[in-house]
């Protein structure tokens, strides 16, 4: 379990270095193309932009993500079921601190986790997810998100994402400069020899300017997909119930509602890409998430097991590819059997009521339970001292 985090960290370090080299190469080439001898300066600018963006996203990334997606924080009293499920998964994943819990008022079912480390983590789920998921399914989704936190995926994806963003940004600026002909004037002024060298450099810069963003994005997508598989494997291992996550994914994918506050920057963070329609993907290579159908199929091919090893076996069987779990991590786990579905009977209406009540409460509505069974919801702006029950005509005092 710890070995897996370590293996992840090693791989991540290598990847970050590769991305950094790519970034510096772009910076240098663009600088050198703009004017001879300015390459180092270009490199420095690329570095500075990257550091700045990284710092911002390191310290504020989580809160920006939560704010952009319209998430609101809840306490245990607001939604005991959700809080309990998160706490259960916090225990199962061995996280040191209970993450903050947010809900998003949106009928499209989805969820994401943020936070640079387990001490600053938060999970957010939409009200749509709470409505359609049984306890087992919710557990699967939360376990998936918790493992993103535990495996430091969030931090890593943010850092790689920022690097990719910087490369794209610099390449973009370069293309614009090229378009407005700033470079042409520079070359004419220089001597013939250096002019030739510079022509080569400009060519290199152009090639890099076009290729680097593509390479960076392909790397980013590949890593993102791999981490999604890993999080699925952890989800199965933590809950000991792969079917929960599988059927939750199925329900989320089947939903036709679209998430209102998702955009291209935040989409990779969700459990299922909220933007891309399944089956319409141009190619596997340009997607942050593996195809949902495949994820579900792997989870359902685990043949009664719930460990990394079982996931690994199922993964090979379904995709025909090598492996997703680092060998050192797979070696230290032993096969564990999956458990039975929880026997708790669940009432869909009750669940929807719970969720909507929590949303009303977040909107500062008051509640009065009338003995006839009606639950009156009092808007925060309600001024009158009494209110009448619409069903049984009883009068109720409105407390302040």
């Amino acid at each position: 379990m710890w070995e897996q985090i370590r293996a992840n960290q090693r791989k991540s370090a290598i990847l970050v270095v590769v991305m950094a080299l790519l970034l510096f190469a772009v910076g240098y080439a663009v600088g050198e193309a703009a004017a001879p001898g300015v390459g180092l300066f270009g490199l420095l600018i690329a570095f500075a932009v990257w550091i700045l963006l990284s710092l911002i996203s390191y310290y504020a990334g989580g809160s920006i993500m939560l704010a952009v997606s319209g998430a609101r924080k809840i306490e245990k009293a607001d939604l005991p079921r959700l809080y309990n499920v998160v706490e259960e998964m916090k225990i199962a994943s061995g996280l040191p601190k209970m993450p903050d819990i947010y809900i998003i008022d949106d009928p499209a079912p989805n969820a994401f986790a943020t936070g640079r480390d387990p001490y600053h983590a938060a999970v957010a789920v939409t009200s749509g997810l709470l409505n359609i998921c049984s306890r087992d399914e919710l557990q699967g989704v939360i376990a998936h998100e918790m493992s993103h936190v535990r495996n430091r995926d969030v931090l890593f994806m943010i850092m790689v994402g920022v690097m990719m963003g910087t490369i794209v940004l610099i390449a973009d600026v370069f293309r614009r400069v090229l378009l407005y002909g700033g470079l042409g004037r520079q070359t004419r002024r220089s001597s013939r020899d250096s002019g030739q060298i510079q022509m080569v450099l400009i060519l290199v810069a152009i090639v890099l300017g076009i290729l680097a963003p593509i390479i960076a994005q392909l790397i980013y997508f590949a890593v993102s997909r791999r981490r999604e598989y890993l999080a699925d494997a952890c989800g199965a291992q933590f809950t000991r119930y792969p079917e929960g996550l599988a059927s939750a994914l199925e329900k989320i994918a089947a939903s036709t509602a679209t998430l209102q506050h998702a955009n291209r920057a935040t989409a990779p963070m969700y459990i299922i890409n909220p933007l891309k329609q399944e089956g319409m993907a141009a190619s596997d290579l340009t997607s942050t998430h593996p195809p949902v159908k495949q994820r579900i199929k792997i989870l359902r091919s685990m043949a009664g097991g719930a460990s990394y090893l079982d996931y690994e076996k199922a993964f090979r069987q379904v995709t025909g590819k090598r492996s997703v779990i680092p060998a050192s991590a797979a070696n230290e786990t032993q096969p564990v059997p999956a458990r039975q579905a929880s026997k708790a009977q669940e009432d869909h209406t009750q669940r929807v009521r719970e969720t909507t009540d929590a949303l009303w409460k977040l909107g500062n509505y008051g509640f009065i339970a009338c003995p006839c069974g009606v639950k009156l919801k009092i808007p925060p702006a309600f001024k009158l001292p009494v209110i009448q029950c619409p069903r049984c005509q009883r009068m109720h005092a409105v407390k302040e």
Partner: protein
């Protein structure tokens, strides 16, 4: 520089390397042992919470179920036994008592099905959610504890870390297995 000096440096270098390696293993073992300790504390917290919830549950249920005195008295009794076992700190005893408590609670919740008013009681529903979740938390804490124990024990027993473990007296930890006969037994299938 004489051959002897180079040799001496080489020997010192190798010794330093071995020492560093041992320190690394030692620290790894300490870290794992702390994980195991912490995991046990997690189980303990949840067990205590379960024991604290049960008197409330019995109090709520009493008013509705006059005719089921035996059922909830069994729950109270099992709860007290489990509470004592927890305080004694004996892993095996605790596991047995918890299994008994789980069965008693199962019987109680089965009977509740016959009392629709009770199932509509908000207080009861909240308690039921808490108890269900606490039971889940116990089993997840147990799962995490056992996984950690396995890793720790593997480290203490496998070569080469067992040398360091033996030298500094790291003892294998005990797994927490709930001795629940109903859960362990394979389903009986009869063809007749």
């Amino acid at each position: 520089m004489g051959i002897g000096l180079i040799f001496a440096f080489a020997v010192i270098g190798v010794i330093v390397l071995i020492l560093l390696w041992m320190i690394g293993i030692y620290n790894g073992l300490v870290q794992l042992r702390n994980v195991v300790k912490n995991a046990w504390a997690q189980i303990d917290v949840q067990l205590k919470r379960r024991h604290d919830l049960i008197p409330n549950l019995v109090e709520t249920v009493k008013g509705y179920m006059q005719h089921e005195r035996g059922t909830f008295e069994a729950v109270t009794k099992a709860r007290n036994m489990a509470s004592q076992a927890r305080e004694s700190g004996n892993v095996g005893e605790t596991a047995a008592a918890e299994g008994e408590l789980t069965r008693a609670l199962g019987r109680l919740f089965a009977v509740v099905e016959n009392y629709p008013e009770l199932k509509a009681n908000q207080n009861f529903l909240a308690l039921q959610e808490e108890l269900t979740s606490t039971e889940n938390k116990i089993s997840f804490a147990r799962q995490f504890y056992n996984d950690s124990v396995m890793q720790f024990n593997n480290k203490t027993q496998m070569f080469p870390s067992n040398i360091v473990a033996g030298t500094f007296n790291f003892k294998a930890a005990e797994m927490f297995e709930l001795k629940d006969a109903a859960e362990r037994e394979a389903p009986q299938v009869r063809f007749s």
